[in-house]
Symmetry: C2
Subunit: 383 residues, 2 copies
């Protein structure tokens, strides 16, 4: 294969320290990919995203095909040039978001027809069209077109859905144009059923992909079922290819999945939370709108190097959200992405040092201890 390559640099138990090499640069793994849905990581410049240490971002086929359109992005030189992000980009296949966002969906063997959530216009996605769109976007990593099996599903429903996805995976593979440094990932489905996951993993390896994703999780099954499914699925995947757990998650989810052999993650959590006043910190999550922060001169997270923490107080962030200032979303998103990247860097170092479990214990201790104690109320507060 002439596609992207993966080097496994170290292991610690099931956890892996690796490096993906793509046409637009390398990605140290385990890696978290900030979500840039419509060609922008919401409320951040590309420079700001880069400054956090993020090496790869995710783009959404569904959003970009509807607006501004894949052919248009292609004519403008691809998604890297369009959004000013020169590093690697992974795009999803559009299947998941058709199911969660679009109207009047109809699914059959050929693919999906649906109406845009923006203007009601009619569209179709097939494996072939999804791969073509991702090619037009110039994605370094293209995802096979699949159906994200709803949860809960009976074993029969999950099997039928998974087998449809496997037929679509073969069509995706046929439609993918090999180019040096570009890759196509297959997606293991099968809900929480071990036998179905095994069947899916085998079917995908029979087809052959540059990497393997685990789909159909983080859809309501809960952390225990998610960890269990990840735990029995990763050993079914080849050791010499990257593994991507789609749509996960909270810091504690990511840590557990890394311990179970996952290399790549994406989630809207840090960006969405950044716009709703939730900050992720080394002492757990903090709601900066809470009145206890109104006059707190301390940084959100004293160990963080982002501008929200280095240049500003909790009181200022609190004020920005109370006043509905855009800068509040900008700063807290920046912080959350910085926190996630710091989290991944720490996990990578711990795997390399062979002390992942001890490191995870320290992380969890911080989260469980909770936020720093509130300051005593000011004795000179204005009436």
């Amino acid at each position: 294969m002439t596609g992207l390559s993966f080097a496994l640099l170290a292991t610690d138990g099931a956890a892996r320290r690796g490096r993906i090499s793509t046409a637009h640069g390398t990605v140290e793994t385990p890696a978290f990919m900030p979500v840039g849905t419509a060609g922008t990581v919401k409320a951040m410049t590309a420079d700001a995203v880069r400054s956090t240490g993020a090496e790869i971002v995710l783009g959404n086929t569904y959003h970009l095909m509807l607006r501004p359109g894949a052919e248009r992005v292609g004519r403008l030189g691809g998604l890297h040039r369009f959004m000013g992000w020169q590093g690697p980009i992974l795009t999803d296949s559009g299947g998941f978001q058709v199911m969660s966002l679009a109207g009047l969906r109809k699914i059959d063997e050929n693919g999906v027809t649906f109406r845009s959530h923006i203007d009601g216009s009619a569209h179709a996605l097939t494996p072939e069209r999804s791969i073509q769109i991702q090619h037009l976007l110039d994605a370094d990593i293209t995802m096979a077109f699949d159906e994200c099996t709803p949860f809960p599903a009976t074993e029969e429903q999950a099997a039928a859905s998974m087998r449809l996805s496997m037929r679509w995976a073969a069509r995706s593979r046929d439609a993918f144009v090999e180019r040096p440094g570009y890759g196509l990932f297959g997606i293991v489905q099968g809900s929480t059923f071990r036998d179905l996951r095994a069947e899916s993993a085998a079917a995908l390896q029979e087809i052959g992909f540059h990497g393997y994703a685990i789909g159909g999780l983080a859809v309501g099954e809960g952390q225990a079922a998610m960890f269990e499914t990840v735990g029995f699925t990763t050993p079914m995947l080849p050791a010499d290819r990257p593994r991507y757990l789609m749509g996960v998650g909270r810091p504690e989810d990511i840590v557990g999945a890394v311990q179970r052999g996952i290399d790549m993650f994406d989630c809207v959590m840090p960006t969405r939370s950044g716009r709703t006043a939730q900050g992720f910190t080394r002492h757990g999550t903090v709601n900066i709108r809470n009145a206890r922060h109104a006059e707190d001169p301390r940084p959100l997270d004293a160990a963080c190097g982002c501008p929200a923490c280095c240049d500003h107080s909790r009181a200022y962030l609190h004020h920005l959200f109370k006043a509905n200032e855009i800068l509040g979303s900008m700063l807290l998103t920046w912080h959350n992405i910085q926190y996630y990247q710091d989290l991944m860097a720490g996990l990578r170092q711990a795997i390399a040092d062979g002390r992942l479990d001890a490191h995870v214990g320290e992380l969890q201790q911080g989260w469980v201890a909770g936020d720093i104690a509130a300051l005593p109320p000011s004795s000179t507060d204005a009436p």
Copy 2:
């Protein structure tokens, strides 16, 4: 006086090239001050504001006294520390915005009582309280408390309003605490009446201020009346003190006022327009939402060094506004502030070189010529 100082470096006709030295640094004039209403230049980090070449920002007493409160900002170390802006800050007196934003206003000799537009709570502003608030905010330049005379006003109304402002100016002067590098500006009122402006300018100089502002303009009188009033008022002001035209304006307004001897400006135009898809450029204003930009790979303004112009196409900016992405407001605000700062830098250089009128002619030529021609429609546009 121990306050801030002003050095007049060069003149070209009535236009002046100067330097204001304050407790938090120097300001090259003519200068444009980005408006940071509630402790943030909307949609920009302090670093981004600095990167445009801006040396001083404006804060609004009315907004900050209501939220988060002047005493709170004071306890948090002042506005510089609160908003992470280490350069000079000018604050207005609150009078103008009480009149334009607050509810149930009552004005008498003592001052103004009003209700907050945020929560309806009752507040009062007097000259003494306004100066105290600006002290708590740690403003390098404090503005005297005045009544912004509505437009149109009869000469009698304008005279009564101006004389009230002059009595308040004297009380503001008495309330101001002198500190090295800090200054208090008086505000000339009198609507468009030359005799009233002369009376006001004389009254203020009798009191004595570190600088002189022209208030009560940009309130609907039109550019011709504004230029005329500025033109006959600046000669009434001392040459050795900075002159500030409040609330002005569009690039063409600023240029004309600089030619008439103004040193300082503020306006919400570049920031507000940046959030409503209006870009200021060397070829006039551009509405980036216009369909002609949808597939235009060219920068908004090829001569601009901001990230919106260096890293992105018009097509991308267009897309961001169509998709209601926060990054659209961020990038276009950044561009507009950069454009205003470049405009001021060009004016300063032209004054120093003694070729202001020629330079202004070139600027106007660019604005009048209008935007670059649209590209021919793409022949391969998707249906």
